[in-house]
Each structure stands twice: as structure tokens, then as C-alpha cells.
Symmetry: D2
Subunit: 294 residues, 4 copies
Amino acid sequence: MEVGFLGLGIMGKAMASRLLKHGFRVTVWNRTLSKCEELVEQGASIGETPALVVKKCKYTIAMLSDPAAALSVVFDKDGVLEQISEGKGYIDMSTVDAETSSKISEAIIRKGGSFLEAPVSGSKKPAEDGQLIILSAGDKALYEVILPVFDVLGKKSFFLGEVGKGARMKLVVNMIMGSMMNALSEGLCLADKSGLSPQTLLDVLDLGACSNPMFKLKGPAMIESKYPPAFPLKHQQKDVRLALCLGDEHAVSMPIAAASNEAFKKARSHGLGDLDFSAVYEIVKGTAPSGNAA
Amino acid sequence: MEVGFLGLGIMGKAMASRLLKHGFRVTVWNRTLSKCEELVEQGASIGETPALVVKKCKYTIAMLSDPAAALSVVFDKDGVLEQISEGKGYIDMSTVDAETSSKISEAIIRKGGSFLEAPVSGSKKPAEDGQLIILSAGDKALYEVILPVFDVLGKKSFFLGEVGKGARMKLVVNMIMGSMMNALSEGLCLADKSGLSPQTLLDVLDLGACSNPMFKLKGPAMIESKYPPAFPLKHQQKDVRLALCLGDEHAVSMPIAAASNEAFKKARSHGLGDLDFSAVYEIVKGTAPSGNAA
Amino acid sequence: MEVGFLGLGIMGKAMASRLLKHGFRVTVWNRTLSKCEELVEQGASIGETPALVVKKCKYTIAMLSDPAAALSVVFDKDGVLEQISEGKGYIDMSTVDAETSSKISEAIIRKGGSFLEAPVSGSKKPAEDGQLIILSAGDKALYEVILPVFDVLGKKSFFLGEVGKGARMKLVVNMIMGSMMNALSEGLCLADKSGLSPQTLLDVLDLGACSNPMFKLKGPAMIESKYPPAFPLKHQQKDVRLALCLGDEHAVSMPIAAASNEAFKKARSHGLGDLDFSAVYEIVKGTAPSGNAA
Amino acid sequence: MEVGFLGLGIMGKAMASRLLKHGFRVTVWNRTLSKCEELVEQGASIGETPALVVKKCKYTIAMLSDPAAALSVVFDKDGVLEQISEGKGYIDMSTVDAETSSKISEAIIRKGGSFLEAPVSGSKKPAEDGQLIILSAGDKALYEVILPVFDVLGKKSFFLGEVGKGARMKLVVNMIMGSMMNALSEGLCLADKSGLSPQTLLDVLDLGACSNPMFKLKGPAMIESKYPPAFPLKHQQKDVRLALCLGDEHAVSMPIAAASNEAFKKARSHGLGDLDFSAVYEIVKGTAPSGNAA
């Protein structure tokens, strides 16, 4: 099976490389073309523009860094729209908001193409290991055709319905994650101030009904006030905020998420936005430097 | 090794039985003595009063249903205090508040005995399987002597320091658990109202960094509005409240726990206090019957 | 002084009438022209379209019901833009969001006109009595020219700076008002459930440092579960939400406003959105009918 | 009419002095007897112990600084209990918790005396001017007899029912006050960060439906980061906490009060507990020094 692949950032490179190793023929494009070399060594072809990749391949996958990049690759000169047409499919695996996704979807469909949004849960390591979770939505037939690709990239893929539902599912999951992180931060701080060892709390938690990979992974670093940005706090806060907006739209009252959002916002105001979202622990502890950066 | 065992409720029976199976000689007592028979068949002796059990055994374990029972067994006529003395150890594994625990501890020590509080995390099944988590605090030497018992009853035991820290650790863990349950409830409701399948949300959560036994166990039942009381909501709310009081004492601000507490309180006011604490989902959904039972 | 006046709803009619009584020559327009008659009897002239009003008058005031109407009157055929030009001023006293206001401002200025946004605080009675509070922003020179008009309509007018600041000031005030209403609701409910008379609470409040017109006006009706919509709950919630968005933009953490927002949202989900915003009391009491209208 | 008066602190002295000026015969006692001199000059008699005051006077009023002092004056040697008896009334106007009040009440009644709790709202100036608000509860007959005293001391007195309701009413009022202060703090901060003048916000608020003496009094000082302790933050937080406990007892969910409580707690953790409760503004602004004093 031949696929196009647009975007060779950390995630995109790992994913395209994995496809090559599993026997797919892959034509890659990246804004900085030099980044394609490593993949060419692994057997990839190069497409000089997104349009040329789409022209060559029946199915093209995109993995861009943000909504602006996702839009640019489609709508700009030499972009996807110039060559998309009936019989061709476009699968955007970037994490974008529902609005961006709808905009791209409509444009692709207007040209006769079919579209699937497929944001993923998981970072570099799961991408290399084919352990992503894929939250797809849009064209069901395209989903079924592209399943062999998803099977190589992810440990599980979901088809969630019309375009927008992939983005929305990610928001809901991240909202829960944000509240759990706040819950852990409060617990660690309460343990510490009341004479219990935070590390022992982590040990106890890990043995019980609340045991989860996130606490296990981030807890020990938090105790040492280390917050290497796996998922930057400002992005986590944005997702909680968007989830609250979604709740507003549907009149869902979510006081825990709202309180978490304010805690993350507080963290931003203390200049912690670029650290990992676990840095909200500094806010709970009250040890963030005073001040008010945005 | 010979031990006394006071209290043969669901938990106590499972624990005493397990000790017998692992070669301990056990002298049991229960308020309703007939409940001892099953254990006698398994090889236990009977002590006719708590005092007689303590008289006979160097180490006596208690597993009572609540603080009132825990106090009664120690302080009432024919109680533990009448026979406890230097060289004897008393291990209370009941879940009681720190104040009750301190009261018992002081009385035991005044008589020359040594004391260990050792509340557990886990219910019937883990008790039968020796998979409890044991949060002990008090006399370190007694802890070390009694470790062979804990090794049979639990998958892990902790020694946390002076009396009260076992109870406190349970509060912190339950506070986190309460906030996580609220986070899940909000997520399930948001998914549902915004056109996503709550079951799919559970599936996605279970594959990612937030995956935990509680979501897996309770989530599907919540979707069906079923809340069999494994841990009654009114007890969970009480624990969150006590954790907030502990935070008040140490000036720890915990807005997420506070919001969770109010949600559980709301659930109580709608008459859901005796259901499982996952019934807070009914409050998030707004489907609890109106009204205001305490 | 001659002014144009667009929009003769409850507020607009009271304001235009007041201007006539104070010696201004007023040319009125309303979408339903029959509504102009009453004012013609009081001495007003009629303009048949917004464009014709602007053509005739150096200064035109608008008081429309919502952003859509405010935009339509300016941008539609026969609208303000067709006749606005250098030397003419347009004062929009409607309550609109900052974005709408900016859009109108830019269009007016592009045509050479000058623009002032001037949303008001106060309803029908203050409008009739010239007791409005006017929160203006935009063209300072126009503000100074139009002051005689503001002096007749309001008890106090503010000039707050560039366009958008009028709208923003209203949001901040309404956010505070929303939190105060929640605080009152919680207090009334706590009084009631703990055996104190809610009416006595109102009496005590009214004598002390927290005494304010809103508690005095709405409190007694709330006790009787009456919520005639002076300011609909759904609009109040929208304003709190927008204030929270403004806070997000500037990284201001506002947990009380966030909790208030969720309470108002809950009220919406129980179908109370069209009642007065004091109906949030029903949510605190838990007496809103279960269900989930948006 | 002759009355005894125990406690000549700031409040007590102003109140006793006012009674003398209005023709009451007053026998005063104070722990530091020298403080009585000023009142003797105004015509007061001295009682050398609380017991002697009660022996001499049919009605004795107490105005002590805290629960410990209130208890000591009644229960200690030479205390009120030694002389209270049938036909005598004891009116405690100190601000104490419901439990302390009940303890005193029971002891007085057991001796045959009658009891009234009558905490006041208002500080030094209102005490001097007879403008206190008196929240009394307990013996209705005693209330009616003592009304001439209350009429001189307060602008309004309430009889609220059984002992404890006076204390409780104060809690509810202070809870509302605490939430209002948080609402104002958030508004001032949002105004400031979004380019509006906080002083102008105060001006606008003062003209509208939310206008209240507290905003007017404390707002301008807050803008200048001045928090002279009229009502210390740690006491305000304690009252909000006790109100939440009262809510817990009656299953009243109060998310806004809960969020306010956490904000005040945060302020305590940053060492602001002895400043005025308006210092919570520093927490909203994020300008409190980091650190974690209790």
C-alpha cells in the first residue's frame, strides 16, 4: 500500500519510519525538506510539495504541529487542495480543534475527496512502538481502507462518528487527566504538610484502586520539583478551557474541571506555562515565585 | 505463632481464616459468638471475652466495624484493658479516626502494653487473597514482630510513624479517590451530552495514562446508573471533609477536593448517601430526584 | 442640540422621551415604525431608515436589543454606514460584546465618522428617571460633545479609554454581581436548613456592611421562589463566562467566578435560563426539577 | 435599671459608657481592674469579681474577647456560677461558637438563672454610637426585660430563638461577606490586568445594584495593598469554615463558600492571617510572598 506523509516532526518521523519498516511505500514531505533525508535512507520517496504528494498517492496522512500548520498545508499555494479529488483520501492525525478540523474537512469534501480526522493519544515512544491510541472521525469508508495503517501505528483505533468527535474525545480525556493531576498535587501537598512522606503516598496509591501510569510516571519527579515538559501546562490548560466551553454549549456543569482550570491558570500567571502540566503542584504548594507573567 | 483475633465480620472472618490456613494458632472472639463456629472448624480456639483472648495471647489483632465498636472492645467490662500488660501487643486494624486511635493507644500504653494501628485498604476479596494494603503506625518494635502476620494478610505493609498516621494516610488516599471519581463523572457526562459514547470514553481512558482499576470497575456500572454500595457515598464524603479539615489545620488550600466535597454533599442532600460514592454521577447529570434528605 | 435615535424598545423609548422633555430635537427610527408614534406626539421627527437619520443628524445614538440588531442597523442596506461621514458621530449604547463593538467602530471610522460605545447599567426605571450609569469608550472628543445628552440620561457617565473597555467594564461588574448572587443564595439556603429565618437573614444583612440594593430587591422574591426575569439567568451566565474568558486571556485565576459560572450553568441545564438570574437559588436548594434542557 | 457589666475591652468600655450616659446604674468588672477607673469617673460602681457583680445585680451583661475568656468568667473561682440563681439573668454579648454558648447556657440554667446569648455585629464606632446589630437567642422573657439596654446599645436587635441561633446567624452573615470579598478581589484583579482602572470599577460598583458599605470602605485600601486588620483574615476563614461545617451537618452544598474558604486558607499559608480579610486580594493577584506559614 502506498501512502503520502506530510510533516516529519518528532511524531511524524517516528510514524513514517514505522510504516516503512512494515512494508508500506511512503512518499514524504516536510516544510524543511532536509528532514526527509533520514527517511529516504529508510526507503521513502520525496514529494516536493503537499500538492505533489497528494497527486502521487491515493491516501495522504498529515501529522502537523498545530492548527496553523494543518491549515497552511491544505489551503496554501501548492497545498493539498490543489490535487485532492474524487477517489483520494486525506487523513489528518494532527491535534487540532474541532473548528480547524471542520474547515479542512469541508474543503476536502467540496473537491470530491474524503476526509478523516485522527488525532492520537501518546507521544514519541508510543509512536515508535506502534502503541498510539487513534481517535478517528469523519469518513467511515476511508477509516476502513486506512485501518492497515492504523494497525501499524497504534495499539487501538476508534471510529467515533462525524468530524469533530475525535478532537472532542481528546478534550474530554485531557480534562479528566487535568483534574486527576490536580487531585494528586493536593494529595501530595497534604501528605507533606501533615507529616506523611509524599513518596509513601505514591507507593500506597500505586497499590490500590487509583493506581495509574500518570501518577507512577510523574509523581516521583513532582516530589523533586522537576517538570520536564512532556505536555506543556499551557496546552493542558487550553484543553481544560475548551472542554469547559464544550460543557457550556451543552449546559454541563463541571465544578471540578472549573477549579482545575483556575489552578492551571494560576500556574500560567506564575510563569509555569511552558513546564509540564504537573507543575501545577508548585501552585498547590505555594512555592511558585510571585509575579504575573502570562 | 499464636495470635488473638477480635471481630469476625466480613473482613475479620476472611483474615482470621487466612491466618489459620497459613499455620498460625488463632484464638477468636466475636460479639455474636456463634459466628466463631466456622473458624473453630478451621482450627481456631474461642476466647469468651476480649479480656480472655488478651490474657491467653501475647498479640491480639482487632478488626471491628466502626470507632464505637473499636472503643467498646477495649474499654468496656471484660475488655482488652483488663488484661493488657507489659509484654503484650494490641494491633487494631479497624478503620477509625485518628482521635479514636489515639485514645486506644494511650490507654494500652498506660497499662504497659504496646500498640499498633493498622487500617487496611481493600475489601473482602483482597482480604481472602492476602492482597490487603496495610497502613500501620505506632510501636515500631511491635510492627516488626507482627510482620509475619501482615505478610500473610497483605501484599504490602507500611510503617508510617506515630499513631494517627495510618488513619491520616487513608484520608489522603480517599480524598484523591473522591476527586478522581468526580473527574470521571464530569467526563462521562460531558461525553454523553456532546454526542460521544460514555463507554467509548471508558475504553479510551483504559488504554492511556489515566487508566486505573477504579474507572475500570465502576465506570460501566455508572453508565447503567447502578451504584451498589462498595464504599457508601456518605462515608466517602466524610473522609473528604476530614481531609479538608486536616488541610485547614496545616493551611493547605485544596480547591479541587473542596469542590468534590460539595458535590458529594449535594448527593447526600438528594438522598444518595447510602449508595456507592460513584452515585455522585447522578448529581453531575442532574438526574437525582429533587428533594433534600440529609 | 439635534440627535438621531435608533431603536425604541423599552430602554430606547424611555431615553428618547427623556431627551425630548429636556429640549433636544430628536429624529427617531425603529424597525417597526409604528412604535415611533408615541414619540412623535412628544415632538420627535421620524427618519425612515437608519441611513436617513444619520444623513439628517450630526450625532446619532443607537439603543438596540442585541449584537445582531446592532450590526444590522449599521451594515445592512439603508444602514448607518451609507451616510456616516467625516464630522458625524455615532454613539452605540446597546449592550454588545467587545468584538461586535470593534467591528462597528472600525467600519464607522473607515468612513470618516467618529464612534463611541456607551453601554449602560440600569433598566427601565433608571432610564425614565435619567439615572443610568454610562460606561463609554472610544472617541474622547465625541464623548465631550455628547456629554449634555449623557447628563440628561444618566446620573453618571464614565469615559474608559479605547473601544471595548465599556463592554469589558460591564462584564467585570456583572461577574461580581453573579458571585454575590450565588453567595446570597448559599446564605439563604444555609439559614433555612439550619433553622434560621431567611427573611431575618435579609433583615440582618440589610443593616450591616454587606447591605446592597440587589439583596434588598431580589431577596424577598427569592424566598417566595419568584424569579421574574429582570436580567435573565442565561445572559448573566454568558457574562460570567465571558469574564472568565477575559481572565483566561490575562492569566487571572478566578475560582469564585468559576464556581458561580458552573452554578449558573447547572441552572440552565435544569431549564431555568429564562428566569431571573436569582433563580440560581433553586439550584442551591436542590429544588429545581430534574432533567436537562439546555 | 441596674446592670452588671463584665469585660471592659474596646467594645465593652464603649458599651458600658453608653449605658451610663443613658441613665443606667452600672457595676463593672474587668480582669485588669485598673481599666474600670475611667468608667467609675463616669459614675459606675466596681464589682471585685464576676461573682460579686452577679450577687449585686439582677441582670449581668458580659462582653469578653473570646470563648476562653467567656468560659473562664463563668466557670472559674469567683465566677458567675457562684452567685447566679433564680430570678437573675445573664446576657453574654461576646462572639463565641455555639458550643461555648450552649455550655454556658446549660450551667446558668442548672443554677436556676436565665440566659441570653447576644453577639453583636459592628465594631468600636457603632458601639459608641449605639448602632450595633444585636443577634440574641435563648430566654425570650429575659430578652424582653433587657430590651431597654439593647435599645441604647444597638440600632436593631433580633430575637432568633433557642441558644446557638445568634452564633449561627453571625456565621451565615460572615460567610456571605467572605464570598463577597473574594468576588470583589477577583473583579479588581481582572479589571487591573485587562486595562481597566480598579478605582473606576469601585466607582461604577458604588453607583449600581451591588453598592455596599464594605466595598466602599475596603476597596480603596485594597488598591493600595493596605490591609489594616479590622477583621483578621484568620478569623474570617474560621467563620467560613464553621459555616461550611454547619452546611455539612444539614447537607447544604455551597461551592462558592467552599472556594472562598480555600482562597482564605491559601492566604493563611502565605502568612496573611493577621491582616484584614481583604488581604485575600493578594492571593488573587498572586503577589503574596511565596512560603508557607500557617
